[in-house]
């Protein structure tokens, strides 16, 4: 029995089979969430051969409604919740939330607490950069560099564990200081050793990844953005510094001990994936340098959290009505928190501003147009897109 083509098409339509192809010469490709290059983040690509014609970012796989949950939990309990927003460097959400609460209450942090918070933030930055090197080299195919970077990160994890008691989710920075003191001087010595060790290993990464001919070929001229585009799209962090804007929250809006520290802000002009990668590479060096300075300075004497009777009775801990915005420089960019209090023992509203909400949606969608399928993971990784930031 012969069936005409139109009948077949009709039958297929009725059974919902007309999904592919979209147009005559394009097809749709679901890039993620089950994919090595995306961490539970999906990009829907309209492809023409191996070129991307249109990209739509589809976030929301990690959405848990943090901002609602934070309204239902006491001020200090929220620390254990909000740090889950940024998995590679969970100290950043802790720090911004604590800084915002400190500002509403009007606490001046003791110097020791400031030193510890700065050190923890810098350690988080180093570990996040190592994690990023791992991600980048896995996507480029230099598995050796990635494996080594993840192994060096373990040393920092061990230090975090000694300091806070946890490997990944530290729940360490609390409003009014930190949760507990530095264990002993041996920890400081170990931190110094680790910084020296990682510093000594940086040339390895240079040889394998950042000075590699093929890396240059792969990343040069891919995903180019210029200054104007970057500013309009709210790009922050290393991504905007790769376009020639020297914007670093640590300098522009100094917090904690950063005014006293000496460090450079690496700025490149090109704005392509390679420039973004190199800016991150230089920043890793600067972060190690900052850690060295902090160790040189040594933790000041004094209490490690604010001496306030309020902190004695945490369940009844109340914050006066008011609001505050605090932001820090994370490895991904400008990480901000806006906290509103109405005087009760729970926050009225907490809004976390992850940098990836700017990088991962509109910027990504526009940079991907015209890219080859092989460039998609590279662009994704060079933007250092962190899906939980977007989804919250």
């Amino acid at each position: 029995m012969m069936v005409s083509q139109s009948e077949l098409v009709k039958e297929a339509r009725e059974n919902g089979m007309d999904l592919l192809p979209l147009d005559k010469d394009t097809y749709e490709l679901f890039f993620g969430p089950q994919h090595m290059a995306t961490e539970n983040f999906s990009i829907i690509l309209k492809m023409d051969g191996h070129r991307v014609v249109k990209a739509i970012a589809n976030p929301g796989f990690l959405h848990r409604g943090f901002e609602k949950l934070a309204e239902l939990r006491p001020w200090h309990t929220n620390i254990a919740l909000l740090l889950r927003i940024c998995v590679p460097e969970p100290d950043v959400p802790e720090a911004i939330y604590s800084m915002a609460v400190d500002e509403i209450i009007g606490w001046e942090l003791p110097e020791r607490a400031q030193w510890i918070r700065t050190t923890v933030l810098e350690m988080a930055r180093v570990s996040a950069y190592l994690f990023w090197i791992m991600g980048l080299s896995f996507k480029l195919g230099v598995y050796t560099a990635g494996q080594w970077a993840a192994a060096y990160r373990e040393r920092l994890m061990a230090l975090f564990e000694q300091l806070t008691g946890a490997r990944v989710y530290h729940i360490y920075t609390i409003p009014g200081g930190v949760r507990r003191d530095i264990p002993n001087d041996a920890w400081l010595r170990r931190l110094r050793d680790t910084v020296e060790y990682i510093k000594g290993k940086l040339p390895d990464f240079d040889h394998l990844v950042f000075e590699n001919y093929i890396t240059f070929r792969r990343m040069e001229g891919i995903g180019v953005m210029d200054k104007k585009f970057a500013l309009a799209e709210g790009v922050t962090g290393p991504n905007i510094r790769a376009t020639g804007v020297p914007y670093d929250v640590r300098r522009a809006d100094p917090y904690l001990l950063y005014p006293e520290l000496d460090f450079e802000i690496p700025v490149l002009e090109d704005g392509d994936a390679l420039a973004r990668a190199l800016v991150r590479r230089y920043e890793l060096e600067q972060d190690l340098y900052i850690l060295e300075q902090l160790l040189e300075m040594g933790p000041p004497d004094g209490p490690y959290k604010v001496q306030d009777p309020k902190l004695k009775n945490l369940p009844r801990f109340k914050v006066p009505a008011g609001d505050a915005f605090a932001h820090v420089e994370s490895t991904k960019g400008d990480f901000g928190a806006y906290v509103v209090s109405d005087g009760r023992n729970k926050p009225y509203r907490v809004q976390i501003r992850g940098p990836s909400i700017a990088h991962g949606i509109r910027v990504l969608e526009q940079l991907l147009v015209g890219a080859r399928i092989a460039d998609v993971p590279v662009i994704l990784m060079s933007l250092d897109n962190c899906p939980p930031d977007i989804d919250r």
């Binding site: 919902g16 749709e28 994919h35 494996q147 993840a150 989710y169």
Partner: protein, 190 residues
């Protein structure tokens, strides 16, 4: 014909010693996967490796909390895996919601929607705990109690009912069509 049942112990040994993992980071536990794969913990000693293709994979690691949007993909990916397949859930979130017990967008009981073989306690579980869970699943394969894939077949109505209750009927088709209008060139369509 050869009676392949004779070789079942050998097959079970091979299944135990060569668990390939689906590369699908479903939650925060995914951040402990790189340390597990690298020199500190090195899961490849046990023959495990991440695999990008679900068709070849045996072990599904649900690394942390599951949102309904992810659960749809998890179910589809799980159904793509060939039998014998095993599911291991990380942390307390897939078990009972954990810290997200009152969150409107996190699954509270994963075993309503998928058969889970092993659940590792902790938030988030340390790599050692994950390795302990893997040991457990290896033991279970050896004595034949890791039968989640059988249960999924036998009780498919139950699982399907729960899935449909959560997502609404016909969610697979809806999900497949969802992005078409946004990908289409609208001018052409009109």
């Amino acid at each position: 014909m050869v009676d392949w049942r004779l070789f079942e112990p050998l097959f079970d040994f091979a299944r135990r010693k060569s668990l390939w993992i689906v590369a699908f980071c479903t939650g925060c536990g995914g951040i402990e996967m790189p340390p597990l794969m690298t020199s500190r913990y090195d899961l490849e000693r046990f023959g495990m490796m991440p695999n990008p293709a679900p068709r070849m994979a045996d072990l599904f690691l649900i690394t942390g909390y599951v949102t309904p949007k992810t659960l749809k993909r998890i179910i589809i990916t799980y159904e793509m895996q060939p039998d014998p397949k095993y599911v291991m859930a990380h942390g307390s979130c897939p078990l009972n919601g954990g810290i997200y017990w009152d969150a409107y967008n996190a699954i509270k009981h994963l075993d309503r929607y998928l058969p889970v073989d092993v659940i590792i306690a902790g938030c988030m579980p340390r790599p050692e705990a994950v390795m302990d869970g893997i040991n457990k699943i290896m033991e279970m394969i050896e004595n034949g109690t890791a039968d989640g894939w059988k249960r999924y077949k036998e009780n498919y109505e139950y699982y399907k009912k729960n899935q449909d209750e959560l997502f609404g009927e016909g969610w697979r088709e809806r999900e497949a069509r969802r992005w078409i209008p946004w990908l289409m060139n609208r001018k052409k369509e009109e």
